[in-house]
Symmetry: C2
Subunit: 353 residues, 2 copies
């Protein structure tokens, strides 16, 4: 029956191969491959027959065979330090959508902080099963960068500069400055900042930039910066809640406004203020960064950093690169936009001068 000599039943263990489709369509495997992949020219007649046969057989290419033969795998890695935090899961969701649209598979590599960092970098990423990878908030030391380069994996970074690699990010310095200036514009002079952990420098390179933006804005307005008002809270709600409670404990020396580097921290700060009997924005103005959905209920003013779009844009650049467009390792800066709600307002009773 089948010219190939081996008629097969197409059960779960014996799925149809290219050869089967070729037999059924009365063409060669080469033609089937071309017709199905879209590479190379095929007469529309042949194409129709092939598609018909493929459909009837329920044929779907074997990605391992295809990848082995072609060297391409339609599989892209996403590397990130955490997946259960809003920013990362949102970037991930954006990247996943863009990859899905393009028909690419997504391999997830989660560091869990530092737990799997080495393993991922020195083992998983080198298995030559990725066409490319997007690295979120990742700082590579020279050795690590060299390894990935040696593995020949095109890389795009998100949310922090990666030397020699094209990147998508926002301007964290500017964002920190603008958030602070919003507060200053409302008359605040006593403004505290809640940022990421020291350890965080590794994964949140931008965090210190946001803090720097705060310092610059304060300096620019001739306002003093109390070192005790530069706090660290791990980007979490609960961490910020505790820090803020301590910060706001002294009614005579507390700030009138807080700039938090994430919305979760900003929301935690608002809760802490209320638990101390303070009103927002009456006694305390609070601004965050993210446009995290939780901000809505808190009436939180924030700067939307379009996290999802960072993920989709990273994938777009990667795909452009893979299809020939050799983009230079430029840093693409996405805009961030104010979302003003009710957590910021004019300072109530000016302290100091």
């Amino acid at each position: 029956m089948a010219e190939h000599g081996r008629p097969r039943d197409h059960g779960a263990l014996n799925p149809p191969r290219l050869q089967d489709v070729a037999d059924r369509a009365g063409v060669s495997t080469a033609t089937v491959s071309r017709a199905l992949s879209g590479r190379g020219h095929v007469s529309s007649r042949a194409r129709a027959k092939v598609q018909q046969a493929a459909h009837e057989l329920g044929f779907v290419v074997s990605y391992h065979a295809s990848s082995l033969a072609s060297g391409r795998s339609r599989n892209i890695g996403v590397v990130l330090p955490y997946v259960d935090r809003w920013y990362f899961s949102t970037v991930l969701e954006g990247a996943a959508g863009a990859l899905m649209d393009a028909g690419y598979d997504l391999s997830l590599y989660n560091f869990e902080g530092d737990r799997y960092r080495e393993t991922v970098l020195t083992d998983f990423l080198l298995r030559k099963r990725l066409d490319a990878a997007v690295a979120v908030s990742l700082h590579l030391d020279p050795t690590e960068a060299a390894q990935l380069l040696a593995a020949g994996i095109p890389l795009v970074g998100v949310g922090g500069p990666l030397e020699g690699v094209p990147t998508i990010s926002i301007d964290d310095l500017d964002v920190g400055r603008r958030a602070t200036e919003h507060l200053i514009g409302l008359g605040h002079r006593r403004i505290a900042h809640l940022g990421g952990a020291e350890e965080g420098r590794r994964y949140f390179p931008m965090s210190s930039d946001r803090r720097d933006g705060w310092e610059q804005a304060m300096a620019g307005a001739g306002l003093p910066v109390d070192p005790a008002w530069s706090l660290i809270a791990d980007y979490t709600f609960t961490g910020a809640y505790q820090q803020a409670k301590n910060l706001l404990a002294d009614p005579f020396h507390r700030p009138t406004a807080v700039f938090a580097s994430s919305d979760e921290m900003a929301a935690g700060t608002i809760l802490a203020a209320r638990d101390l009997g303070l009103t927002v924005p009456g006694d305390l103005s609070v601004i965050g960064i993210d446009a995290h959905p939780i901000g809505e209920a808190f009436g939180l003013t924030t700067l939307d950093q379009h996290a999802r779009q960072q993920g989709t844009r990273a994938v777009e650049r990667l795909l452009e690169h893979l299809s020939g467009g050799s983009d230079e390792p430029s840093n693409e800066v996405l805009p961030a936009h104010f979302v003003v709600r009710s957590s910021t307002g004019p300072v109530a009773a000016p302290h100091g001068t």
Copy 2:
């Protein structure tokens, strides 16, 4: 030099192959394969030589070639409806860790609600590049189930019964009942419930079970259930905030306690209560489910459902299955534990009888 006839430079574009290692170690490719994979017996002397040679060459197997030849890919899919929600990202993180530990790659398939559901089910999952998959909160209709079965992908379900498939979950009915009974035990008689959306039945099959548990507990205590107190809030903080605000608006007819099917909803409820000038637990007791970290700052009483462990356990079962242990499609029920904090307390002024 190389017996194979083709000496190669091992740059990024020409990585060392098994043959190169074999040449260098002075053995056959079969021995190298056995030595490196651990399958079959190899003299420790040969093994040492091979490992040495492989190390010197920086050899790492081509997973595509290996998969094509062996039929195994060391790649497991994780299918979920969302990744930017706490429960799902936490289960994902658990699964990712377990897979990493086992040296498996993880392919992520995110439905984004319904957006990619069809695509994933009828396209991506059928590409025969997965050894198995874990499906989180997924309801398959018979056709879909048949497709996956036909693709021969061993499946483990998490967080909801999947017919004919081994599953990991908690007892949602029981959890709903216990949460409610905790409230009843504190003297509450007017207890509302906040659950998932109707649409949610597709992805949160347990949600209605939790609601059922609430109803059962109420009935068991002889307490009336006001239909207006059975609310839907999509599992989100902000959704719950709005629902709760309406629910609590009438001072004479509001409940004295709320059981929310997730901690985010419970926290949103607490915020809404405070915005109305109510104290928690003085005027309103609130209990959630999850042990979401945000609950700490809210002093939220909850039932820990060990989401992360659900993910790791699912992977463990899958791996056991792949290594021969043919587990029957049993449903493994994980325990949930009370975490009592300050959001629940004795009812203040009993209403009614």
